[in-house]
Structures are given as structure tokens and as C-alpha cells.
């Protein structure tokens, strides 16, 4: 019998085996896009009548700063990050890369052995970062009972780069050995991953497009006391231009240009610097924005959806989530994508530009004047409904509902 009603009482009554257990993994070695995407999925699943409880396995402590709904919790691992020389390394602990990877792998395996999820959704890397998930995956496979899903964002890089990476990591073998399904959080009409990346027949047979994840759903997960509404309450009247730079680690140039850009006289600006922007850079931005100016700089708002909803225009970097925020909320948006080391952001934004959904500025062309000119140009709201499949979230709930039924059927037989 599935019980979605009682919560507190059930919590104290010992283990509850009727819950659908779902685990999400994200390596989080660069930025917060992976964990934010997983969290949106987790929130949606937790709210759906699936009676699910969800464990987020995240690669960075920052994951714990996002508000989590009931029945969702996270385990965060000691972090790995890309150093200034481009090499990945332990972010804080003085351990070698090999040591921290085995520490993380050991913890991940323990977590999945203990939690024994009905479904595991792995973000982007089929074997986890540096193959850290492999011991856990092979254990889960040996045990059976866990449906393993690889979740991919639509575009990862140029075809050439992806094919090489894919081969180097022997992802085909990983998918053959460990995965039941592949979900692509995208729209085949925008980017046909199988064709563009020439995925093998095996891979293609497990793959389906869920549709893009409509970011307006995030509004449902905002409480009245959260930072978003609190910030909203302090904003002046007038047209609002929102500038976001993702996690913030490489957002300085865009934020600086925005602060220096001429705003229309009836508008004010808001910069979200991101929790991973170094403090000295944040200070620099705040100095430039000055006191009493028309641009405010905020370090971090864990769930900025209310600010996106309020904004009249958007200037943003081109991460998956930011771009989808722009497209979902539909206000005129200018994307200034990252073009190094991957072309992913540029490619996605360019496809969406071709559909008339966003405007695009190459980072080499970035200047306050160019931003000002874009802001001065009249633009219409671009609602994507017929041009883009944004139905990813309800479709994933459907997939889990099916899953739940087949588990119930198996248990009954």
C-alpha cells in the first residue's frame, strides 16, 4: 500500500519499503549546472504522486545550499575541480587526484550499496568523473534491481570532440554494461544527438528525448521566505534587466561589461554573480556598480526563478540551465556563451537563435556598448511553445510512473 499522506509518523516508524527510491549522481567538478539540473528533476519527482524519496549524490558542497523539498536529501563529496593550469585536482584537501578519486569512489559505492535505489540517474558521465562511479555501477549491476539511466544534456561539444571523448572514455562499453536507458534533456528537432554524434546502434536503441526541462517549474519550489521573493520585495519599480553568469567562476567579464553598459533610462539592472565567483572579483563588481547606481550586484540567490519571472530582459552566459531559463521564461534574452574549452554553449545558443528564441553575442565581441545597443533595440517576447519541446519534466514523471508500476508488478508476482 502506498502512502503519500503521513509524513512525520512514517518517518519514525522505521524503514519504509513502499517508497520509490531514486538516486541522482552529478560529478560537479565544474560549475553548478549538473546539480541544479538534477535538483529540478528531483523536486519534480518528489512533488509528483510517486511516493518517492530521493538521494542526491553531488560532487561539491555547494549542492547543499540549494533548498531541498521534503523526502530529498543530498550527500556531498570532497571536491575535485579544474585548476588554473587546466588540470583537475583535489579542490581543498591536499590529496593527489588519484587519492581523492578513490576516496569519492569508495563513498559513492557505500552510499549506493546502502540506499539500493530503484532507479539511478547519472548526469553526463557514464562512468562518473574519473570513473569514480564505476565500482558502484558494477555492484548495482551484479545485484540487479536498480534501473540505471544516463542523463545527457543535448549538446556537449562539436561532433569531432565528442566522438573522440566518447571513444577515449569507452562510453559505448559503459552504456552496454551499466545502463538501461539514456535520457536526452533536449529536442531532436533542435539537435539530433544520434545523427550528429554518430552514436552506435546499441546506444541509439536505449536513447530517448525527454524534451527540454521547462525552468518555470522552479517557481513551484520557491517558498515565500526564500531569498528570491525577499530580493524581489526590495527591487524598485521599472523595467528590470537581469544579468546572470551561472556559478560565477568565469563570469567576471560579462558582469563587468554589463555594469558599464548604458541602461535605458527607465530600467535598472541586477547581477547574480554566482556562489563560485571568487570574493575579490565580487568586491570588484560591487565597487564598479557603486552605491546608489542603477545596477545591484548579488552574490548568490539559491533559487533565482522569481527574478527570472520578474525580469524584462535577460543577459546571460550560455550554460544549459541559464539558456533554458531564458527560453522558458520567454523574455528577450541575449546569450553571451563560453566558447572555450568547449563549443557547447555557442552551439546550443546558435540553434536557438536560428529558431528566433534568443539573441547571441560572441564573447570576443563583448563590450558595454554592444550590450547597451542590444538593450536599446526593441525586442518582442519569444514564447517557445510551438518551436520547442519543453515537456521534459512531465515526461520524466511518466517514465518513473511506468517504472513504479513494473516494480509493483514484480513485487506482486
Amino acid at each position: 500500500m502506498v502512502n503519500t499522506q503521513s509524513e512525520t509518523s512514517q518517518f519514525d516508524s522505521g524503514s519504509d519499503d513502499t517508497r520509490l527510491r531514486v538516486a541522482f549522481y552529478s560529478h560537479d567538478t565544474l560549475g553548478l549546472g549538473h546539480i541544479r539540473r538534477n535538483l529540478l528533476l528531483a523536486q519534480t519527482i518528489a512533488e509528483a504522486p510517486l511516493s518517492a524519496t530521493i538521494l542526491m549524490l553531488a560532487g561539491a558542497r555547494e549542492a547543499a545550499v540549494f533548498p531541498m523539498p521534503r523526502r530529498v536529501d543530498c550527500t556531498t563529496l570532497p571536491s575535485i575541480q579544474k585548476g588554473s593550469n587546466g588540470q583537475y585536482r583535489s579542490r581543498r584537501l591536499s590529496l593527489s587526484l588519484r587519492q581523492i578519486v578513490s576516496l569519492r569512489a569508495h563513498i559513492l559505492q557505500g552510499a549506493l550499496e546502502e540506499f539500493r535505489p530503484d532507479m539511478l540517474v547519472v548526469d553526463t558521465e557514464p562512468r562518473g568523473a574519473f570513473r569514480e562511479l564505476e565500482p558502484a555501477l558494477s555492484w548495482l549491476r551484479m545485484q540487479g534491481g536498480t534501473h540505471c539511466v544516463l542523463g545527457l544534456r543535448d549538446i556537449r561539444d562539436t561532433a569531432l570532440a565528442v566522438r573522440r571523448e566518447w571513444q577515449d572514455a569507452s562510453n559505448d562499453a559503459a552504456i552496454r554494461d551499466y545502463y538501461d536507458d539514456i535520457w536526452v534533456y533536449g529536442d531532436q528537432r533542435v539537435f539530433d544527438v544520434v545523427r550528429e554524434y554518430r552514436f552506435s546502434r546499441d546506444v541509439a536503441s536505449k536513447l530517448r528525448y525527454t524534451g527540454y526541462l521547462d525552468q518555470r517549474a522552479r517557481l513551484n519550489f520557491v517558498g515565500p521566505g526564500d531569498d528570491g521573493p525577499r530580493v524581489l520585495a526590495t527591487l524598485p519599480a521599472g523595467r528590470m534587466v537581469l544579468c546572470t553568469v551561472g556559478g560565477g567562476q568565469d563570469g567576471l567579464a560579462l558582469a563587468r561589461a554589463f555594469i558599464a553598459a548604458p541602461l535605458p533610462s527607465d530600467a535598472f539592472g541586477l547581477v547574480l554573480a554566482g556562489p563560485q565567483m571568487p570574493m575579490d572579483m565580487l568586491e570588484d563588481l560591487r565597487r564598479r556598480a557603486g552605491a546608489g547606481g542603477s545596477v545591484r550586484v548579488l552574490r548568490f540567490v539559491p533559487e533565482p526563478a522569481p527574478l527570472f519571472a520578474r525580469a524584462d530582459r535577460l543577459i546571460t552566459m550560455g550554460g544549459y540551465n541559464s539558456t533554458l531559463e531564458a527560453v522558458s521564461f520567454g523574455q528577450p534574452a541575449l546569450i553571451v556563451p563560453r566558447v572555450k574549452p568547449r563549443l557547447e554553449q555557442w552551439m546550443r545558443a546558435d540553434r536557438l537563435r536560428a529558431l528566433g528564441l534568443v539573441d547571441l553575442l560572441h564573447p570576443d565581441d563583448l563590450s558595454p556598448e554592444r550590450l547597451g545597443a542590444w538593450l536599446a533595440r526593441p525586442r518582442e517576447r519569444a514564447l517557445p511553445s510551438d518551436r520547442l519541446d519543453l515537456g521534459g519534466l512531465p515526461r520524466i514523471v511518466d517514465l518513473l510512473t511506468e517504472r513504479r508500476k513494473s516494480i509493483a508488478a514484480r513485487a506482486a508476482s
Binding site: 518517518f11 556531498t76 584537501l93 576516496l103
Partner: protein, 417 residues
């Protein structure tokens, strides 16, 4: 700069892990981060791992650069305002074993020289036994860190007896470090520790911030604009602070409107905050804030502080030497509303009685709390001179704990006092 990657054997890089209980408030985590900072000061090359289920969001900013965290699923089941932090819904027993297994594995591979366990010898729900058992086969040594007052002594004796914790300490812990002083509570006598354990006990003094603020008290008073003499009222996180603040509002009204700053705390419910704001509305020289960043500095600037009796607030009061009237919490967080016998929790009472005995603070028994009793206590306290910081009590607890941990890592046995 890349972190040291050389073999540990060659350069003897130290590793320390702290397992910290994740209560709803931030006291435990804050003590642990202070200890980690003290360790980092002494050994910037050491690798420091904090294992906790605390969802505290500012944790990374407070940790030294050579510390990272393993966050466990959170296990706190009730918050002071009735809400719960996010929690996996798999039942407490399974959650505890889950946390235990993650910790065991992390310690197994991280191989710290020392594992410091905060306040609960077997963790929040006895989940540490597998970890401690494993340690006997490795070179990691376990050290237990206890708050000045773990709980009222009779409760500690009962709980530890029930859960076999005296035996656990005897068997697994190399040292027992107390983040307090025997003048407030003589833990050895009060908890009835055996000679075997007593010989490993060391009192380290209060773990608190002793670095002076960048702003002088005079500067702060100017910024606040409350005049030269003002009262400060703070109730920690604020989840159950409304009765104290209501009594405080009543007391200052009777005292011809002394200027005052009231800090409601980040966990106070919107309803409680609104109720207080209604009472405060329209009064002059009264400031109400959700939270402030530099509480100790404000304490230094204030004439007197009214507070509850949490560890951090009490230690900060000692460190600043400000006059204080304390109204300790005697009901468990979240259960003060019912005031039932079951929720009685006298940890703060024991602490505040101890400090009052030493003449360092004044106390109002919460069962006698009213505007009148609080007013009388405030007026009495205002007639006394400020004490020197800490009186005679030690406030460099974090440094002393760090020294002990380095000492244990170096293979020293026993607790040199």
C-alpha cells in the same frame, strides 16, 4: 599552487577528520570549524575533513582552505519552529546505518591520524560503532570532544549507561577533550567517569572567537545610532526565542525606554517575528533585526546583553566581558510551546547556573520569566562593573583542542593537562 601530492610517508602530511553532530542550530558545526581553523593555523599542509549532516549553507566560507566536507544525509527530526530540514524518508534506523557506513568508508580511505568525534561517543544515532571498530586495526586514533555541558549530569549518566557509552569511551577513545572548564561543570565527577577515562580527560576551555573586531565599540555605537548606552537582546537562532524577547520588550518599556537592539535570529518563524515587530512598532530607540554578522563586536559595544544560554552565545559573552542576563532554555528545541515534562532539557540551565555561581552572568529562571523579573535582573546587573574578558576562564579552547589533536597525531598517549 597545487596541493602537496607527495607520499605521506615522506613528508608526514597530517590528516584529521571531525565527525560533527548535525543539530538544527549551528553550535556544533561552529565549534568544529573553529577547531579546524586552529588546526590549519598550526599545520597549513594538513588535510582536514569535516563529516557532518549539517545543512549549514555558509560552511565552506568558514572552513580553512585545506578543509573539505563530506555531507551526510541529515538526521535531525524536529526543528525549533516545527519545520524539518530535508531528510531522506527511509526511516531513522536505516538512515543511521547509512550515515555510519558512509563515515566508515570515508575514514577507511582517508586514513586520518586522528578522528575527533563531537559530543556523542557513537554519533547522533549510535551510527559510529562500525567506524570505531575498524579504527582498532588502523593507525587512526579516536578523540572525543565534549561540550562544557553535554546534558544535565543525571541524564548523561542514564543515557551513557543505557547505550553502553562508558565502555565505548574506555575502549575506543584515546582522549576526551572538554570544551569548557571544571568550574562550570566538573565532568569527571558529574558524569561519574571511571579512573581509566578520567586519566584521558583534558579541559580545553571555551571554543570561541577571541579575535577583536575591525570596528571599535565607539564606531559601532555611532553606526547604530542608539546613543552611548544601549541594551542588546539576542536569542541565538531564534526558533524558540519569542518568550524571552517579549519579556525583554516589556522590561525596557518599564525602564523608561532604554535604547535597545533586538536580534530575532534566522530560524525565528515569520509569525513570531511579526508579533514582536507589532509590539516594537512605534517605539523610539528600538531596533529589530533578523540577524547580524558580528555579534561579539556588538556585545562589546552594548551596556548589557540579554540572551538565552546556548554554548556559543555564552562563550561570546565571556569573551567580550559584557554584563549579561541569561534566560536559559529548559525545554527541548521545538517543545517549549507545550512546556510538558517530557521535553525538559536543562543543558543551558546547568551552564548558566555555573556561570552565575562564578559571578560572570546573572540568571533569570525561565519558569519565572516575566517583564518584571527580567527588568529587576537587568537593573541589578547594570549596577555592577563589567568583568574582564572571561574572568578567570579559558577562552582559547580551539587552540588547545588543536594542540591536543596534534599531540595525539604525533603518537603521544594520555592527556597531559
Amino acid at each position: 599552487m597545487t596541493p602537496a601530492t607527495s607520499a605521506r610517508a615522506g613528508l608526514r602530511q597530517r590528516r584529521f577528520a571531525i565527525f560533527t553532530h548535525d543539530a538544527y542550530g549551528l553550535g556544533h558545526v561552529r565549534r568544529s570549524t573553529r577547531i579546524l581553523r586552529a588546526l590549519a593555523d598550526r599545520d597549513p599542509r594538513a588535510a582536514l575533513l569535516l563529516i557532518t549532516g549539517s545543512p549549514a549553507t555558509h560552511l565552506l566560507r568558514e572552513l580553512p582552505p585545506n578543509a573539505d566536507t563530506l555531507k551526510l544525509p541529515t538526521i535531525v527530526t524536529s526543528g525549533s519552529d516545527g519545520t524539518r530540514p530535508p531528510t531522506l524518508d527511509i526511516g531513522v534506523a536505516e538512515l543511521a546505518s547509512f550515515r555510519g557506513e558512509l563515515t566508515r568508508r570515508a575514514v577507511e580511505l582517508f586514513e586520518p591520524d586522528v578522528l575527533l568525534v563531537d559530543n556523542f561517543p557513537l554519533g547522533t544515532r549510535l551510527e559510529l560503532l562500525p567506524t570505531l571498530r575498524d579504527l582498532r586495526r588502523t593507525s587512526t586514533r579516536a578523540v572525543l570532544g565534549l561540550r562544557d555541558v553535554v546534558d544535565p549530569p543525571d541524564k548523561v549518566r542514564r543515557d551513557w549507561e543505557r547505550d553502553g557509552l562508558f565502555g565505548v569511551i574506555e575502549r575506543y577513545y584515546h582522549r576526551v577533550l572538554i570544551y569548557g572548564v571544571p568550574e562550570v561543570l566538573d565532568a569527571v565527577a558529574a558524569y561519574g567517569l571511571s579512573e581509566g577515562i578520567a586519566s584521558r580527560v583534558a579541559y580545553c576551555g571555551y571554543v570561541t572567537e577571541t579575535t577583536p573586531s575591525s570596528r571599535t565599540p565607539a564606531q559601532l555605537r555611532r553606526e547604530l545610532g542608539l546613543g552611548d548606552r544601549f541594551l542588546l537582546a539576542t536569542v541565538g537562532g531564534g526558533g524558540d526565542g519569542r518568550p524571552v524577547l517579549e519579556a525583554f520588550l516589556g522590561a525596557i518599556e518599564r525602564m523608561a525606554g532604554w535604547p535597545a537592539l533586538i536580534v530575532t535570529g534566522e530560524f525565528m518563524s515569520a509569525e513570531d517575528r511579526a508579533a514582536l515587530a507589532r509590539v516594537a512598532a512605534g517605539r523610539s530607540s528600538l531596533m529589530l533585526k533578523d540577524h547580524i554578522t558580528d555579534l561579539p563586536a556588538l556585545m562589546s559595544a552594548a551596556e548589557l546583553v540579554v540572551a538565552m544560554g546556548g554554548y556559543n552565545t555564552s562563550a561570546e559573552i565571556l569573551a567580550t566581558g559584557v554584563r549579561a542576563v541569561l534566560v536559559p532554555r529548559v525545554w527541548r528545541s521545538g517543545e517549549h510551546g507545550s512546556r510538558g515534562k517530557t521535553g525538559f532539557d536543562a543543558e543551558q540551565l546547568v551552564r548558566v547556573e555555573g556561570l552565575a555561581r562564578l559571578g560572570l552572568v546573572d540568571m533569570v529562571d525561565p519558569r519565572e520569566l516575566s517583564a518584571e523579573t527580567l527588568q529587576a535582573a537587568i537593573e541589578r546587573a547594570l549596577r555592577r562593573p563589567r568583568t574582564a574578558a572571561g574572568g578567570a576562564l579559558r577562552l582559547d579552547g580551539a587552540a588547545r583542542v588543536a594542540d591536543h589533536l596534534l599531540d595525539v597525531a604525533a603518537g603521544e598517549k594520555g592527556a597531559a593537562a
